[in-house]
């Protein structure tokens, strides 16, 4: 490999591919990949609707103490559950699977900057989260007869998508800490109890006393506040909710980064 042989010829102009084009291609591929794994695409859309049918539909006509429609409150709860699950399961299982397939090895040798690869995954997850929200809300409106201003739903969708970052971080942590066979179980074991204990399945008032005392320390509880605030039923200011979510984002990313570094040092010594 003499330097002469390698550097011969003028470099192609432009020197690198456009980042926007890379991001678009990468995001589009991620979306196609997800869409072709029905275990993912069907589950993320169908499960929240199914859960809402069992836990929400029977109560849609009741009104809460503060005057909020219980139907709207429960729909907001499952909307939060839904976006969180897209992130935790999508990133948790996705990262674990890619690690097992050693997709990362080849990608690291290409000119694709890692940040673009991650951004594409985030964009892709946001699109699926949006899809899942639209289906769930439409279902609640049509089948459950839940009526709210369109701006209420829009407000809720934006808050939930923006506030979903800690669950992306949690997904990364699960994906780097577990293999592809363990990841689905790990994601379930972490996320389902978390959602239950945070009052996303049943209102907190119906949960055991000790759960009610623990809930205000859980990320999904504060995430739920983002959705409940949109229908006028939050129990804390949004700034507090966002502060908690930011704290959990840092914590989960720190865990993910530690696991990532540990693997890097093992793999590339």
């Amino acid at each position: 490999m003499s330097a002469g042989a390698v550097t011969r010829g003028a470099p192609a102009t432009p020197e690198v591919a456009r980042l926007g084009r890379m991001l678009a291609a990468q995001t589009w591929s991620e979306m196609r990949i997800r869409w072709r794994i029905p275990a993912f695409s069907v589950t993320i859309v169908a499960l929240p609707v199914l859960f809402f049918t069992f836990f929400g539909l029977p109560y849609v006509n009741q009104t809460m103490a503060g005057g909020t429609s219980l139907g709207a409150y429960l729909l907001a709860s499952f909307a939060a559950y839904s976006v969180g699950s897209v992130m935790v399961f999508g990133f948790g299982i996705g990262v674990a699977t890619e690690r097992a397939l050693k997709v990362d090895m080849l990608m690291r040798a290409t000119p694709l900057p890692p940040i673009i690869a991650i951004l594409a995954k985030v964009l892709n997850a946001q699109v699926y989260a949006l899809l899942s929200l639209v289906v769930l809300i439409a279902y609640g409106m049509v089948v459950g007869g839940i009526r709210q201003d369109l701006t209420v739903w829009l407000d809720m969708i934006i808050r939930l998508l923006v506030g979903s970052v800690p669950f992306i971080a949690l997904g990364f942590a699960i994906g780097y800490l577990s293999g592809p066979n363990v990841a689905p179980a790990a994601a379930n074991l972490v996320y389902l109890p978390l959602a239950f204990a945070s009052g996303l399945f049943l209102p907190l008032s119906q949960l055991p006393g000790f759960v009610q005392r623990v809930a205000p320390y859980l990320p999904a509880y504060h995430y739920g506040q983002l959705a409940w605030s949109a229908v006028g039923a939050a129990s804390e200011p949004m700034t507090v909710a966002f502060a908690w979510l930011a704290g959990y984002t840092v914590l989960f990313f720190a865990i993910a980064l530690r696991a990532y570094r540990r693997e890097e040092s093992r793999k590339f010594g």
Binding site: V6, G9, E15, A17, E98, L101, M105, A109
Partner: protein, 265 residues
Amino acid sequence: MLGPNGAGKTTSISLMLGLRQPTAGQVRLFGLPPTDRRARSRCGVMLQESGTTAVLTVAEIVDLFRAYYPAPLPAERAIAMAGLTEQAGARVGTLSGGQRQRLYFALAICGDPEILFLDEPTVGMDVEARRAFVTSVQTLAATGKTIVFTTHYLREAEELAGRIVVIDHGTVIADASPRELKARVPGKKITMIAGRPLSRADLDGLPASVIHLDGDRASLLSNEPATVLRELFRRGVDVVDLEVSGADLEEAFLTLTRRAEAAAG
């Protein structure tokens, strides 16, 4: 880059690509750190330990990789050069091992790189895939591309390379053209049983290296088996059983390694 398993070929490639950090020294690619995006945009890479998603089709994943490079080849061309035209619409998960290896080749060349790094590219390829691969490599080399590839087959290196670097245990033990290397590596292995127990003195000074000596049995490597035998007979060594065969690569390496050790010690 030629060497037996565990010689450090993959480690060398990983260092050149910036996938591993050297404990000493530094790597520059086009005068840049190998992790620099400008350097990576001029490289194509085929790794041994790597994978891709199973659910995209061949054409889709080639198209995706093309987006990483500033001036890629047309997708059909890259796919055709890898011999995958018929499988272009097939999902990656349905490809055979050999076809998958061709896909990695397509991904390595789709960015129209100036330099290709191929780590054990023919492992897992069937005869047909290997032939297509050899043709493509020769075509690329003819258009002025630099191709760095690793192999543990001497014949493959001879067939494709203009320059062979032999490494073992992380050390360069030879760096020569195929013709030069062939002259330095003994091509024949002499296995014999003598009529009496042999001593070192019986075998000293022969144009051969002794790789095994046990009682009346000995194995030698040499490029001049006829001269060796003539000399043995002249020394009065009676040969009861004799086999002269082509030396395999492990044995050829052994002599190069010994020479390197002798030079160092």
